[in-house]
């Protein structure tokens, strides 16, 4: 297919609308942010299956739990700050603990939300959702993997959290035949010998660019897309880390509790002792600015990944 540069939230809304005929139980809930999370695409196509809960995220999660208990497949969307963040305890107790088939979407995750600033820039959602037993955590990198992830998420029984971004991202998977994505299986986008770049979400495109820049310096970098944060593809992580002897993790998330920590735990469990550098937001809040520029300010660009890779290699 032709490459598409679009935000994963748009791909998400389109995928829900397209998949609705195949999943008659699918209903979509939002909390007055449909125009931003892009569930409005679904709402326009399937108005009878769209439920606007108003600005009441806690209740939305509970309503979704009740819908799932009665056999529906609810997808409840808001900004990550308000779904994973504000409604954490509702997700934990009304969705996670009874293991109900509720899919939760967190859009506008990370600093690239931009102008809205720190109150809306959720940097903790992956950490929060990972701690819930039985919760699947997804963070697709482009339009095509988002569509794949939405289908995979609707296909399995159980709670899932899916992270959506605000900014348009490069197309990575346009040449794949449908049905390639497997929950819990990372995708190797590039093989390499000197360092492994493990990325999720928007940072996958940065990692791909970084690998190109490293190649120009004679450094061979492997790149893997970890679209599933939980269950993490620990086997792939350990294998790539062993083969290259150095790892960089890249995520638009706090350095605490996200991809970096998940990878560290996987490496420790597998007794793989290699230097690891995290490209992440370093235990600070975001602030207002242009989304693109904030990625530079917070050190989340390909150039930052290159620098981290060189540091990791130097520590070998």
């Amino acid at each position: 297919m032709e490459p598409i540069k679009e935000a994963t939230r748009v791909s998400f809304g389109k995928a829900l609308a397209e998949l609705a005929p195949e999943y008659p139980g699918l209903v979509v809930l939002d909390a007055d942010l449909a125009a931003a999370t892009r569930t409005d695409i679904f709402a326009a196509a399937w108005p009878d299956r769209f439920i606007d809960c108003g600005i009441a995220e806690s209740n939305m999660i509970g309503v979704a739990a009740g819908l799932a208990a009665a056999g529906k497949i609810p997808v409840a969307a808001s900004f990550a700050m308000f779904s994973a963040g504000r409604a954490f305890e509702q997700i934990r107790n009304s969705v996670g603990y009874p293991h109900l088939n509720v899919k939760i979407a967190g859009s506008h995750a990370g600093v690239s939300v931009g102008e809205d600033g720190a109150t809306h820039q959720c940097l903790e959602d992956i950490a929060l959702m990972r701690t819930i037993p039985g919760m699947t955590v997804l963070c697709p990198a482009d339009a095509f993997s988002m569509r794949e992830a939405v289908r995979a998420m609707l296909e399995f029984q159980g709670p899932a959290y899916i992270r959506l971004g605000r900014l348009a991202v490069n197309s990575l998977y346009h040449d794949r035949p449908a049905g390639w994505l497997r929950i819990g299986k990372g995708e190797v986008l590039r093989t390499g010998a000197d360092v492994t770049l493990l990325a999720t979400g928007l940072e996958v495109q940065e990692a791909v660019i970084a690998a190109g820049l490293l190649a120009e310096q004679g450094v061979s970098a492997a790149v893997a897309d970890l679209h599933t944060l939980k269950p993490l593809d620990s086997e792939l992580v350990a294998r790539l880390a062993s083969q290259t002897g150095a790892v960089v993790t890249a995520e638009e998330h706090s350095a605490i509790g996200g991809l970096g920590d998940a990878v560290l735990a996987a490496l420790a469990d597998a007794d793989v002792r290699v230097p690891l550098e995290k490209v992440a937001v370093q235990d600070v809040y975001g602030h207002s600015g242009k989304g693109d520029e904030l990625l530079d300010e917070f050190g989340l660009r390909a150039g930052d990944i290159v620098a981290a890779a060189l540091r990791a290699i130097a520590r070998k």
Binding site: R49, I51, S58, N59, G62, A69
Partner: protein
């Protein structure tokens, strides 16, 4: 209703209260006060109101019940056991490791529990979701949820109330076990969520006020709830916390405390006398 039916219900409520006492005493833990205050409500629901099949707890067309005030679980477990969802011999396993009878209701463990609950304010939202699912499917089953008047301090209760009324969920009935007490004291002294009748009216509910220990009043209220179209109903049931055990009645301290052996013997004596009274009639 016929006198014989009324007597049978009173007997069932007395039996439920004895079960609650046995559960909480056996566990040496749990919440007797709010389970005793809702004994008639739970008895009416499980003996008369709910269209359910104990042999088929997941029957898709069953009416649903969500115990939003999940700490009243000993009452729910007694109602389920006596209705035939599981063996009453399991009741003394309440709150013990490995039991299906968790401290708060667990839909994955206990047959007949339609929703996991315990964190206050959340069950009412799930009940809204179930009622909406029935509406979407054009299904005839109804949804009931029991909450506490103290629980009405949770903001999520009012988010759910707004949702239920806005979506015109007339297949949904809330019951507030208005026993007037919560852990830290009298509800009106702690945070004062009332007046609940005016608040629910303002939110767009059909509001009914009854004596929550009077089966005739409960019968009429639930019939009115079923007949109401275009809006959800809330039954504000005035109750006495700890009802049926003289030293627990209207006492804050019996919200979440188990009786010692002496208190247990006294309570048992009172409740057995009540049961015997309705056995005779």
């Amino acid at each position: 209703m016929e006198q014989s039916e009324r007597t049978a219900l009173r007997r069932a409520a007395a039996r439920l209260r004895l079960d609650v006492l046995e559960e909480v005493f056996s566990a040496q833990s749990g919440h007797p006060g709010g389970a005793l205050s809702s004994a008639e409500i739970l008895t009416w629901l499980y003996q008369k109101e709910l269209n359910i099949r104990p042999a088929q707890p997941r029957w898709p067309d069953r009416d649903r019940f969500v115990l939003s005030k999940g700490h009243s679980s000993p009452g729910l477990y007694a109602a389920l056991a006596r209705r035939g969802f599981f063996d009453p011999a399991l009741l003394p396993t309440f709150r013990k490791s490995g039991s299906i009878l968790q401290g708060h209701p667990d839909m994955k463990k206990c047959p007949g529990v339609d929703m996991t609950s315990g964190s206050l304010g959340q069950g009412v939202s799930a009940a809204c979701g179930m009622a909406l699912a029935a509406r979407l499917d054009g299904a005839p089953w109804r949804v009931y949820t029991l909450l506490g008047d103290g629980e009405a301090e949770e903001g999520q209760v009012w988010e759910a109330a707004m949702f239920a009324a806005h979506k015109k969920l007339d297949n949904l009935c809330w019951i507030v076990d208005s026993n007037g007490l919560q852990i830290d004291g009298r509800v009106e002294d702690v945070a004062g969520p009332g007046p609940l009748d005016k608040k629910f009216e303002g939110f767009g509910f059909h509001v009914l006020k009854v004596d929550g220990h009077d089966f005739d009043a409960l019968e009429a209220a639930f019939a009115a709830a079923r007949a109401e179209k275009g809006r959800p109903t809330v039954i504000l049931a005035a109750t006495v916390k700890g009802k049926g055990v003289s030293f627990m009645e209207d006492q804050v301290g019996w919200h979440g405390k188990a009786p010692n052996a002496e208190q247990y013997a006294l309570a048992k004596e009172e409740l057995e006398a009540e049961l015997a009274r309705w056995e005779v009639e």
